[in-house]
Amino acid sequence: MIEFHLETRSGVPTYLQLVQQVRQAVRLGILHRGDQLPTVKEVVEQLTINPNTVLRAYRELDLEGLVEGRRGVGTFIASAQPPVPPNDVKTLRSSLQRWIDRARTAGLDDENMAALFADTLRPPTISRVA
C-alpha cells in the first residue's frame, strides 16, 4: 500500500499528482502487480480532497492499463511496467552529460539548465513564439 502526498503549490493538478505517484511507485518497484491502492474513501480522508479528484486519477490509471478496478473490492495494480534496463540508463546519462557540458560552455548555469529541461519536457499549455 502507498500513501499519497500533495504539493499544493506545485501547479500540477491534484489528480495528476496522484497519477504520477502511482506510476513512480510502480516504476521503483514499491508497488507490484496485484497490490491494492488505497480506497477512494481512504484517500479522501487522509488528504481532505474531493472524491471526484481521486476517481479521476484512478480512472486515468485504469485507461492506461496500469491499474484495474474491481467493483466492490478496490483498485489493484494490473501490470508492472518493466523497469528501464540499467544499460539504457547508463547510455542516456552519458549523452545527457555531454549535453550539460555543451550547455555550460554556452554559459548556462544549473538553474538555467533545469528550467530549460523542465520547459522542454513538459511544455506549458502556453507556448511562446519568437
Binding site: L6, T8, R9, G11, P13, T14, Y15, V40, K41, V44, E45, L47, T48, I49, N50, P51, N52, T53, P124, T125, I126, S127, R128, V129, A130
Partner: protein
C-alpha cells in the same frame, strides 16, 4: 438521479432598497460537484444561498434547484436540500441528544443512524449542552443535523470562517466523506481560499453582487497565467487575452491573464498561478477580500 443541474441561476437579482445585493447572476452547479462560492463579505454569497432555499424572493431572473423553483414548489426542493447557515445557529441550552431529537421531529426524511454515527465519531457526549461546545464542535453538530436529512444538495454558508485550521480541516473532511458516500452536491461559500483548491472542483467568484468567474477549477488553473516582462503597455496582450490584473514598476510589467489560445510574445516570462492568486486578481488587490481577515489583528 435527476438530470437537472442541482442549482441553476439565470440573470438572478436581489435588491434591498436601491442596493443590489446580487445582480445578473448566471451560473450552473452540476449535480455531484463540490462548488466553492468565493468573495468578500457583502459580495452576495449569503443572498444567493438564501435564494436557493426560498428564504427570500428574487427581484429579477430565476433560480431553480433540481429543476424546481424553491418558492413556487418548496415541497419539491426543501426535503432535498441541507442548509447550514452562517455561524450555524443551534439552541445553545439544548444537549446534543435533545438537538438530535429536535432534528428527528422536524425532518420527515431524518436518518437517525447517520446522526448517531457522526456523534460517536466526533467523540461527543449526548448529554453535553450545545452552548458548552467549541466552535469546531458546534459546526460539526450543525453539519450532523444537515447530513441526517440525507440531502442531495448541501448548502454551507461560510462554514469554516470562524474555525482554526485543524477544526477547518476536520469539518471539510466530514463534508467530503458524505460526498464520497452519497454523491451529494455541495455548494460552500467562503472568503478563505485555503483548502478550497483540494476540496472543491468548481469555483464561482462573486464580487459586488456580480459573478466574476465561473468554471471547473482545473480548467481555470490551466487558463490563467502570470506574465512578467520589461515595462510595456498591456494593450497588445489585451487584444488577444483577457487581462485580469496589471501592475507596473519603472522597469517591469506584471500581468495576470486569462489565456485565449496559447500564444505569447517571447518577451514575456510565463508562470503558472494557484487558485488564491486567481481569486485575489479577480477581487482586485485593494478590495475588501484581502483585508477581510486582517482587521482584528490591525486594530490591536
Amino acid at each position: 438521479m435527476n438530470e437537472s443541474p442541482a442549482l441553476e441561476a439565470t440573470a438572478l437579482g436581489k435588491r434591498y432598497g436601491s442596493n443590489w445585493a446580487l445582480r445578473d447572476c448566471t451560473l450552473t452547479v452540476p449535480a455531484g460537484s463540490v462548488t466553492a462560492l468565493v468573495g468578500p463579505n457583502g459580495a452576495g454569497k449569503t443572498t444567493l444561498l438564501q435564494l436557493a432555499v426560498g428564504l427570500i424572493e428574487p427581484a429579477s431572473g430565476a433560480i431553480s434547484v433540481f429543476g424546481h423553483d424553491p418558492r413556487a414548489e418548496p415541497l419539491a426542493v426543501l426535503p432535498r436540500v441541507g442548509f447550514v447557515a452562517q455561524d450555524h445557529p443551534l439552541p445553545r441550552r439544548f444537549t446534543i441528544g435533545e438537538t438530535l431529537r429536535l432534528g428527528r421531529k422536524l425532518n420527515p426524511s431524518w436518518d437517525d443512524a447517520v446522526a448517531q454515527r457522526r456523534v460517536d465519531e466526533l467523540g461527543l457526549s449526548r448529554r453535553q449542552r450545545v452552548g458548552t461546545l467549541s466552535g469546531g464542535e458546534q459546526a460539526q453538530v450543525a453539519l450532523t443535523l444537515a447530513l441526517a436529512k440525507r440531502p442531495q444538495l448541501l448548502l454551507l454558508d461560510e462554514p469554516v470562517a470562524s474555525l482554526d485550521p485543524l477544526a477547518r480541516r476536520e469539518f471539510l473532511s466530514g463534508v467530503l466523506r458524505a460526498v464520497t458516500e452519497t454523491g451529494m452536491t455541495v455548494v460552500l461559500s467562503s472568503h478563505i481560499v485555503a483548502d478550497l483548491e483540494r476540496v472543491c472542483d468548481r469555483l464561482v467568484i462573486l464580487a459586488n453582487g456580480h459573478t466574476q468567474l465561473v468554471g471547473p477549477i482545473e480548467q481555470l488553473l490551466a487558463e490563467h497565467r502570470l506574465l512578467t516582462g520589461p515595462r510595456t503597455d498591456a494593450a497588445a496582450v489585451a487584444r488577444v487575452h483577457q487581462v485580469i490584473r496589471e501592475s507596473h514598476t519603472e522597469r517591469q510589467t506584471t500581468l495576470l491573464v486569462r489565456a485565449n489560445g496559447h500564444v505569447y510574445d517571447a518577451c514575456w516570462e510565463v508562470h503558472e498561478v494557484d487558485l488564491e492568486e486567481i481569486v485575489l486578481a479577480y477581487l482586485g488587490t485593494t478590495s475588501a477580500a484581502a483585508r477581510v481577515e486582517a482587521p482584528a489583528a490591525v486594530a490591536r
